[in-house]
Symmetry: C2
């Protein structure tokens, strides 16, 4: 087999000492580098909602993560492959991730309504979520794979490790994830053990299929294994050590976490993962999560919140989330944040943004998404700088003292 | 009275002979020049729907027209004036128009449901139009002015020539329109005569109030009188000659037209208007309208169609309108038009656009609006070139032969 030259590389530039696993580094991919820690912008259906790729670049985002489940169902991976892959299809030239589809399948199936706390099904519109709820059926899981029903039209589909790899190779993202079973945090320990064994078997099958596919293509795609294990320390550690022995390029950490879990549960995992490989915390990216995750050794994050709350008229500020629908913003000619360098804050007042929201104008989603994505991206960049110049703990303390 | 220096100027660069009143020129305003004929992009509620001001500039638009009725009701002219005017409020640095509010008041009131064929109330969302219809009451018209009820909350308001001028001066657009009565084309001749007399009296009152306001401000605002008269040639001509004697900077042509009217009714009017002043055809801008209007001596147009049909998944092409929801576009990796230089056609396939539309993604409205606005803007630019190099009739013949 002729392996394509491996353009995937992770180099650590700086490690913190002082009881922290935090590090700053660079992830290199065939479509460019990411300075880590990095916040990865979510582009569920091959679009960062309401924002053009140029606007995504201009706000400082380094990479985009799209959802395999959504793209498999619509428009289908075939047309994307024919287009030359996701990069060309959605006109995003930089590094790109796809997830495995597992989270969406399970959050809409076995775990549906049982406390999968991240946004089920990625970032659909409210009407689409309602439609999905009315059509939701349980996904059926066997050791072979999963049978599930489309949230769009109720049609029946199968997904398994091999098929997830085939789809993700057709999509052509730089970093892809092994197919895993994402359990409900309320599932009993006995079930978590069964599911974890399955996730590990699926990790091996994903890796095998991935290596076969990678050998036939020009662009190297990196595969991350996904650590599961619920809220149980021993299972999380078992998962990390099991996957660490496999030839993955990096690791995702999946499942649901409470805010308090992040420092602990993520730390259990990163302590057991090989230091030299990058770690991605799947679907988490609130301000507190970012500090805690980075301190626990996370390199990249993705989260739908910045664009989702933007569409509801809510923005991030250094003092916390703020709803611009509040009447006091209707008469303020100041930007959201006079210190903010984003396009929105440089050019528009909250009075204007409040007006757009009240008038139901689509431009409000665009302008607020730009601000929120810039806010989170910029915060992680600041954290990165604080790691490089050894001021992380001071920066964290100062930042969180003002944030509520 | 200290008149501010008059930065408004219209110069004609080229006139066609051969039974045509078509001309190419330049309108200069305090916020820049417009090369005419020009298509003016509509930004009803102080935003070109789903498009940033930078994107509006990049697609080639020279000016934006906002709706006084909408901005008066929400957010109110006070906050816009405090922001420094519409230019600053919506971050549009170029030439700007506002209409008088009359069209919306009458299309929602006296003429409601009686065949005012342009998009009633500007460019609201469908749900907002439904809401308005359910709340619609007749506007009450006297010689003094109009009483109407808000389509947003049903609240009662008064609008008259003086108030329209005060609002439009608070908004601060470069070109504003006199308050007129826009009649239903189905109104009997007797009513058209009454309404026309009122429009002329209101034109004089608008001009008087406008001159008073202009004298107190730094930026000169130009005022256009609005020609009415329904489908009656003698009334249209009377209106044009009456307004021509007043000290307007230019003229709007209002009312509803059928496609066939444009060449005739518009021609009746332009033949009577002073050649040296610019003429704007209000609310018209389909492809055929553009050719006919320009041939009849129109300098500028505005129309909501490019952005409204974009939000329904429809685009303009050199062969006519096309719905990108058609299944054949789901598998085509070509752009909408491989000859088109717009951002959308340069970077995205119809397969991608079809996907965005089906997935209900806001980005489809942005990308299709950019294409449609560029299409119409560019067509008028091409017509302008054909006027300058004396190829207008050949260009028109060739273009319309392919357009259906």
């Amino acid at each position: 087999m002729n392996q394509p030259s491996n353009h995937f590389q992770f180099s650590i530039q700086k490690k913190l000492s002082k009881n922290s696993m935090a590090r700053a580094g660079v992830i290199s991919t065939p479509h460019g580098d990411m300075q880590t820690p990095a916040f990865i912008t979510v582009g569920t259906a091959a679009t960062v909602k309401a924002v053009t790729p140029e606007q995504v670049q201009q706000l400082g985002a380094q990479a985009v993560l799209a959802n395999t489940y959504h793209l498999y169902l619509r428009p289908g991976e075939d047309i994307i492959q024919k287009a030359g892959g996701l990069h060309t299809f959605m006109h995003w030239p930089g590094p790109m991730f796809t997830d495995s589809g597992g989270f969406q399948v399970f959050s809409l199936g076995e775990a549906f309504g049982k406390g999968i706390s991240k946004v089920a099904g990625g970032e659909d519109s409210k009407s689409s979520v309602n439609e999905r709820i009315s059509q939701a059926k349980k996904a059926k899981i066997t050791d072979e794979g999963v049978t599930f029903w489309s949230h769009i039209d109720g049609s029946k589909h199968e997904l398994n490790p091999e098929k997830s790899m085939q789809i993700q190779h057709a999509l052509g993202a730089d970093i892809i994830f092994a197919f895993d079973e994402c359990t409900s945090p309320h599932a009993p320990r006995a079930y978590q053990e069964i599911a974890l064994n399955r996730t590990h078997a699926w990790a091996a099958r994903s890796l095998h299929e991935h290596q076969k596919l990678n050998a036939t293509q020009a662009n190297y795609q990196a595969l991350y294994g996904v650590v599961q294990g619920g809220q149980f320390q021993d299972l999380r550690e078992l998962s990390a050590t099991t996957l660490a022995e496999m030839d993955f390029d990096g690791f995702g950490i999946g499942g649901s976490f409470t805010k308090d879990d992040i420092a602990t549960a993520v730390g259990w995992v990163t302590a057991k993962l090989p230091e030299a490989k990058p770690r991605h915390l799947l679907g988490m990216g609130e301000v507190i999560d970012l500090f805690k995750g980075i301190e626990a050794g996370i390199d990249t994050f993705d989260c739908v919140s910045p664009t989702r709350i933007a569409r509801n008229g809510t923005v991030y500020t250094a003092k916390g989330r703020v709803s611009l629908t509040n009447a006091k913003y209707a008469t303020s000619l100041k930007p959201i944040d006079s210190q903010c360098s984003c396009y929105t804050c440089q050019n528009f007042s909250t009075a204007y943004l409040n007006h757009l929201i009240k008038a139901g104008e689509m431009l409000s989603a665009t302008l607020l998404s730009i601000h929120n994505l810039h806010f989170v991206t910029d915060l992680v960049d600041q954290i990165r700088k604080s790691l490089l110049d050894d001021s992380f703990f001071d920066f964290k303390k100062q930042y969180l003292a003002n944030y509520y």
